[in-house]
């Protein structure tokens, strides 16, 4: 479990992270969502004690990060993918990391295999693509088989196959009781991977909720009605208290209306319609609207 309490980071007058408090529970994938520049990476760096908080603290399984003597066995982290010395070979990078926490060398080959890098283990890292860098960083995060995983935008640069692999891996780790905290600026990706969401914008907490509830609360659905007699339909629906707006694509939109009721009213008034359909605003729109409202 990760506990974040009143975490704040100021750079001069700029507040990058503003009094954040939340918990990341084990046994599920928690998505850390926010637009670019929301303070996600800064928060994650403070979780690893790389950046010093201006106020507040982070506890990992009840302990401050600095108190771990073999941290890689407790927390696996992926920050920026391209943070490996270019002249070093992939397996050497993992080997020195393994030494720091007393991880046996055999585990290096295991995670290279797991990340699909066994074939390039002796290659110097500077020749790696972004996707390979990301895989190496994931291998590094998994090295100590840690109960807590912190991954900052792990999907970046992965090919579709890699994304599916990662999604399955994270769900699988969570199912085995691990704490999995994954940041992303893509709501759609989080909807597929995470069960729980922590949403921030401009350093502030906007939501700490399940993905299901977040979607229910934030994606507004509407009934789209295509008709050659828009004014008659408007009148008919307005008489029943249903608000109608222009859907923007030449049809009418009745926000939050019951499609069955709309159909009954159409029949009762004898209005010609070509289509009645329920549409929901995409998650991405919901997310943009939500983070936009906060600013």
């Amino acid at each position: 479990m990760i506990e974040v309490e009143g975490l704040t980071k100021q750079y001069g007058r700029t507040v990058a992270v503003d009094d954040l408090s939340f918990r990341v529970e084990p046994g599920r994938v928690t998505g850390f969502l926010g637009p670019n520049g929301a303070g996600k990476s800064t928060t994650m760096r403070m979780m690893l004690d790389l950046d010093r908080p201006s106020a507040g603290r982070v506890l990992i399984d009840g302990r401050p990060y600095r108190s771990f003597t073999a941290p890689l066995r407790h927390v696996g982290a992926l920050l920026e993918a391209r943070s490996v010395h270019g002249g070093r070979r992939a397996h050497h990078h993992l080997r020195w990391l393994a030494h720091t926490s007393g991880v046996p060398s055999a585990r290096v080959d295991e995670v290279l295999e797991l990340a699909g890098l066994a074939g390039v283990r002796r290659k110097r890292v500077k020749g790696f693509s972004l996707g390979m860098h990301q895989r190496l960083a994931l291998a590094a995060a998994l090295l100590g088989d840690p109960p807590v995983l912190l991954l900052d935008e792990p999907v970046n640069g992965l090919d579709p196959e890699g994304i599916v692999w990662l999604r399955t891996l994270l769900k699988d780790l969570a199912a085995r009781g691990r704490t999995v905290f994954v940041s992303s600026h893509l709501m759609s990706e989080m909807a597929l991977t995470a069960e729980h969401l922590v949403v921030i914008s401009r350093g502030r907490l906007l939501a700490d909720t399940t993905v299901e509830r977040f979607i229910a609360e934030n994606s507004r659905s509407y009934v789209r009605i295509a008709t050659p007699e828009p004014s008659r339909l408007r009148e008919a629906l307005a008489a029943e208290g249903i608000q109608v707006t222009d859907s923007g694509d030449g049809a009418l939109a009745a926000a939050g209306a019951d499609p069955a009721r709309v159909g009954e009213l159409v029949a009762a008034h004898g209005v010609v319609v070509h289509e009645i359909a329920v549409r929901s605003a995409s998650l991405e729109e919901a997310f943009v609207r939500m983070t936009g409202d906060a600013s």
């Binding site: 004690d49 950046d51 010093r52 600095r66 073999a70 010395h85 050497h92 720091t100 007393g102």
Partner: protein, 256 residues
């Protein structure tokens, strides 16, 4: 100790798995020994009357002053390469205690530069005196062994000093931009101005010159010093400690 040993193994693995380590150390050796042979032959070939006013016993140390640049580069890269590549975040996430991290790096620098320092100082000494033929000196002469050991220690200490400075500055360009001119300030004429000299003689390269002097009162090729080899060693040690303390404070206080 239980945290230092794993950190030390990691730092050693890091140091030996990048090519810059090997080329910088090889350059130190080739530059020092190569120059020693060239200078030795050059001096041996001079007419006897010109050779008479020279103190050829000191000749081997002159090559070390050039060779040390590559060793300084090694010390700087040990730390600054972590910052330029971003590896430092992985390093500090893996070894979160800044003191342990710096201690492990320092011990690797001391170990590597210690071995290289002894090898290069003695190698240069023997190469120079072999090339000089009968005009050189031997380790058996008074003060010579102490001076060569002083040169070995100086090389190792200079490397650790450079590493400490790089930890404060976090940039190869900045660290080398300050260190390399510093190494040549005195030899580039500043030393001839007595007012400046009374201050600059305490700079690391001059402390080093003091450590390599064969006789405490001899006029060294870099100029005069007001202190002997023992004090020179302490001055150099103070520089190393200051750089490491600065590095520690920077690691502890600033975001990685």
């Amino acid at each position: 100790m239980s945290v230092l040993v794993p950190a030390l193994r990691a730092e050693w693995t890091k140091a030996r798995t990048v090519r810059s380590t090997w080329w910088s150390l090889a350059t130190t050796a080739i530059l020092s020994v190569g120059l020693a042979v060239l200078l030795g032959f050059q001096m041996a070939g001079l007419p006897p009357e010109r050779r008479a006013d020279m103190d050829l016993a000191q000749l081997s140390f002159l090559s070390l002053l050039i060779g040390q640049i590559a060793l300084v580069v090694f010390g700087v890269l040990l730390v600054s390469a972590e910052y330029t590549s971003g590896t430092v975040r992985a390093s500090l996430a893996a070894v979160p205690r800044r003191g342990v991290f710096l201690a492990a790096k320092t011990l690797v620098a001391v170990g590597v530069a210690g071995v290289v320092g002894v090898a290069v100082a003695f190698g240069t000494f023997f190469a120079t005196n072999w090339a000089l033929g009968g005009h050189g000196t031997t380790l058996g002469e008074p003060g010579v062994l102490r001076a060569v050991l002083g040169a070995s220690a100086y090389l190792a200490m200079m490397c650790v000093f450079a590493m400490g400075v790089a930890t404060v500055l976090r940039s190869s360009a900045l660290a080398l931009g300050i260190l390399i001119p510093l190494l040549f300030l005195n030899s580039q004429g500043l030393a001839s101005l007595p007012a400046i000299r009374s201050v600059t003689q305490y700079l690391p390269d001059q402390a080093g010159a003091g450590m390599m002097r064969i006789a405490p009162d001899e006029v060294f090729f870099l100029g005069e010093l007001d202190f002997g080899p023992g004090v020179a060693f302490l001055i150099m040690l103070a520089w190393v400690v200051a750089a490491l303390v600065g590095g520690y404070l920077s690691l502890r206080g600033r975001d990685a």
